[in-house]
């Protein structure tokens, strides 16, 4: 026993000696499961690649919990160096000027060059300010794509649809073959936000919120959107569209079990899905609305990005910059992209994955990036809306009511518009 204690003490001393000139930084994130494992691997790679800095990733639960923990920590002066913030929370943190050091500044101040053009086009705007300066460092970027049950298609003798009209043509045959034709996870992202981007319809006034928070209003009752949702409701009534609640996994599960023909998920679902799906699957773009005047545009970038909190010592900021630089390196990007299915954020990493032959083995993994490289419409660059996580809660509630028959499509979107605008007005006041 005594010997063991002595050994532990000795180990402790050597460990401390090793840490003496290592700067420790922390990274809070909102990932779990397979994706958390990959985050840990990246941290290990960074720590092994150099000795000056050591990063510790800490999972704070879901994206929303990570944002809430970050805010609480910042208010009490206990903020981590780096925090992962999801798409819907972007406006909240970008608006809090002084809470973060813009990623671009952090890198240039610490001696790195920053080339906006190195990033794939669909990613350049979402986490940037009005002048195009990167506030957040894009990390796990994703696109909503359609996963396809190959068995179901073969059995019903149909092809994967490009437009919703093509889906309507295929749905009866799929239903007859015993499948639920279509299911989607997180309708707020798939059928609301990305309806606007894919079909190039304006989502909010003030240039989708980029031009400022004052007077920004949600345009939730656009006729195109209402017409589309009337169709979705009709599909649900006909048994062509399965709705299993607001939870992500509840809607993914029937697809994994092979009961569903098409599932709209995230490009980032690919890594997990390849382990859980019980049948061969492929992927395709999120279908677009053939009735939209100028459709088939790039989708909004989803997922999350990393922000460097301010109020940290110079040495730690240097480490955060080192880490950001490490993350964008082609090898790390290619590794992350291939391990998770999240989109490669730099053109170089995309080219490397191509050269590796990754897409020949896994053509599904290329869909998200291809969708983000589609031509951008006026309204597919992004949105910047305050209190948006709360607006999503309202959307989820109303969508649920539509499918349970408690409300009509029109009333639901009127409610989203009214309550959403109240929140936006409130946010404009807090930022004023």
């Amino acid at each position: 026993m005594k010997k063991m204690l002595a050994m532990t003490a000795a180990l402790g001393v050597t460990a401390q000696a090793a840490f003496a000139d290592t700067t420790q930084i922390t990274w809070w994130h909102g990932m779990g499961g397979a994706n958390e494992q990959v985050i840990n691997q990246i941290a290990e790679k960074f720590n092994a690649a150099q000795t000056a800095c050591a990063i510790t990733p800490v999972s704070k639960g879901t994206y929303e919990e990570a944002l809430a923990s970050g805010i609480a920590a910042f208010r009490s002066g206990e903020q981590p160096n780096i925090i992962q913030i999801f798409d819907a929370g972007a406006a909240t943190i970008i608006n809090a000027k002084g809470a973060t050091i813009p990623a671009e500044d952090l890198l240039t101040q610490n001696g790195y060059t920053f080339d906006r053009e190195a990033f794939i086009p669909g990613i350049r705007f979402f986490y940037a300010d009005a002048d195009g300066k990167f506030i957040g460092m894009p990390f796990n970027s994703s696109a909503p794509i359609m996963y396809v049950n190959d068995e179901a298609l073969a059995k019903a003798g149909v092809a994967a649809p490009k437009t919703w009209a093509e889906f309507e043509a295929a749905a009866p045959k799929l239903k007859e073959a015993g499948y639920v034709p279509l299911v989607a996870s997180q309708l707020t992202w798939m059928f609301f936000e990305n309806y606007f981007s894919r079909n190039n319809v304006q989502m909010a006034s003030n240039d989708n919120g980029y031009a400022g928070f004052d007077g920004t209003e949600l345009l939730a009752t656009q006729p195109e959107l209402l017409a589309f949702w009337t169709r979705v409701k009709d599909w649900h009534d006909k048994g062509w569209f399965g709705f299993y609640g607001a939870g992500w996994a509840d809607n993914q599960k029937p697809f994994e079990e092979g009961k569903v023909a098409f599932w709209i998920g995230s490009s980032g679902s690919f890594g997990g899905l390849s382990k859980t799906a019980t049948m061969p699957f492929s992927a395709d773009f999120l279908p677009y609305d053939e009735t939209a005047k100028d459709g088939n545009k790039s989708s909004f970038i989803g997922g999350a990005s990393l922000f460097a909190f301010s109020g940290k010592p110079e040495a730690e900021n240097k480490c955060s910059a080192d880490f950001f630089n490490f993350l964008t390196s082609t090898d790390v990007q290619a590794f992350y992209h291939q391990a998770t299915g999240y989109v490669a954020i730099t053109t170089a990493a995309y080219e490397k994955s191509k050269a590796d032959g990754w897409y020949e083995q896994h053509p599904q993994a290329e869909i998200g990036i291809k969708q983000l490289m589609l031509p951008q419409g006026e309204w597919s660059k992004g949105y910047r809306l305050g209190f948006y996580p709360q607006i999503r809660v309202i959307e989820e509630r109303e969508f649920n009511k539509i499918f349970s028959g408690e409300t009509t499509v029109e009333d639901a979107f009127k409610a989203i518009q009214t309550e959403g605008n109240e929140l936006l007005a409130k946010f404009a006041k807090t930022s004023g």
């Binding site: 929303e64 944002l67 607001a246 939870g247 709360q390 649920n400 408690e406 409130k426």
Partner: protein, 317 residues
């Protein structure tokens, strides 16, 4: 009120030795006036740090509209209260909270009492029955919620299959009342053992002589229970009523959170969950603070009513 003030007043004269033993022996006089405060200090500190200070913060935040990161706050008066109380959604949630509290409290108390009375009568194997009933209390609310979530899962939930045999297409997470049913069932199940323990010990505290006298006076078991046993259980029942209302209002949070999988959508939630949702997920600090102050007032009024009106009817033997 004046009675109680008079009762407190002499206690302020700590330290003064009264020369004549006129005062009742009950009133202890301390030599050192500071000592009792010293003993009280840890408890007072805990109450101050964990209750008064946060409450004061909540009250002050509720009058401000604040940027989530704390960079600026502007005074908005009663706007946050007006927003909350004026919202249709808030009133709907308040209505559900009331319903949920009444139903959960009613069933938890009723079933706890029923089981206690029945277990009190069992002679053979009584301890194993009791252990079986009490053990559920050891389950933490989030775990209870997790079990509920699995039992009522749309795809694999055994309870959903069971309901299907009776033609009930149960859709927890989609249908408002199906979710409400599942939440109430899990919340009641979790609380019954607690009530059971207290009722059982209450029943065992009733002297055998009283029971025997009651048997002589009345042959009907139910009347005997209603007129003799129940009044003697009243102090326990009153205590449990307060505890159960608090449980239904606040402690069911974990059950609800786990069962709606942190995406409430159109599912029923209680006011506490709404405070959390708006404050911690929505980052609306002022609005969420106003809601928690409203909740504080509700609990204050409820407690006052209980102690002023209900407790008068309780006889402490």
């Amino acid at each position: 009120m004046t009675d109680s003030l008079q009762a407190i007043a002499p206690a302020r004269r700590w330290g003064k030795r009264s020369p004549t033993p006129v005062e009742p022996a009950k009133r202890v006089q301390f030599d050192r006036p500071l000592l009792p405060w010293l003993f009280l200090l840890p408890q007072l500190a805990v109450i101050f740090v964990f209750f008064y200070w946060p409450s004061a913060q909540a009250i002050s935040s509720s009058f401000y509209l604040e940027d989530p990161f704390g960079f600026g706050a502007s005074f908005v008066g009663f706007d946050n209260y007006r927003d909350a109380l004026g919202s249709v959604e808030y009133r709907r949630i308040a209505g559900f909270t009331g319903f949920f509290t009444v139903v959960v409290t009613g069933f938890s108390l009723g079933l706890g009492l029923l089981f206690a009375v029945k277990a009190d009568k069992v002679i053979r194997g009584r301890s194993s029955y009791r252990t079986a009933l009490i053990s559920v209390y050891a389950i933490a609310p989030p775990v209870a919620g997790l079990m509920g979530m699995m039992l009522f899962d749309q795809h694999i939930g055994p309870f959903v299959k069971f309901a299907g045999w009776f033609g009930w297409n149960m859709q927890v997470g989609i249908n408002y009342w199906d979710t409400a049913f599942a939440m109430i069932l899990v919340s009641v199940w979790k609380q019954v053992p607690y009530n059971f323990i207290f009722f059982l010990s209450g029943l065992q505290g009733i002297p055998a002589s009283v029971r025997e006298a009651a048997v002589i006076d009345c042959r009907n078991g139910f009347t005997r229970f209603r007129t003799a046993i129940l009044p003697l259980l009243a102090p326990t029942a009153f205590f449990l009523l307060i505890i159960n209302i608090t449980y239904a209002l606040f402690d069911t949070f974990a059950v609800i959170d786990v069962m709606v999988k942190d995406k409430p959508a159109n599912n029923p939630i209680t006011l506490v969950y709404k405070v959390y949702n708006d404050g911690f997920r929505g980052n609306d600090i002022g609005g969420s603070a106003a809601q928690s102050v409203i909740l504080m007032i509700v609990v204050l009024v409820l407690t006052l009513v209980q102690f002023r009106w209900l407790e008068r009817r309780v006889h402490y033997g």
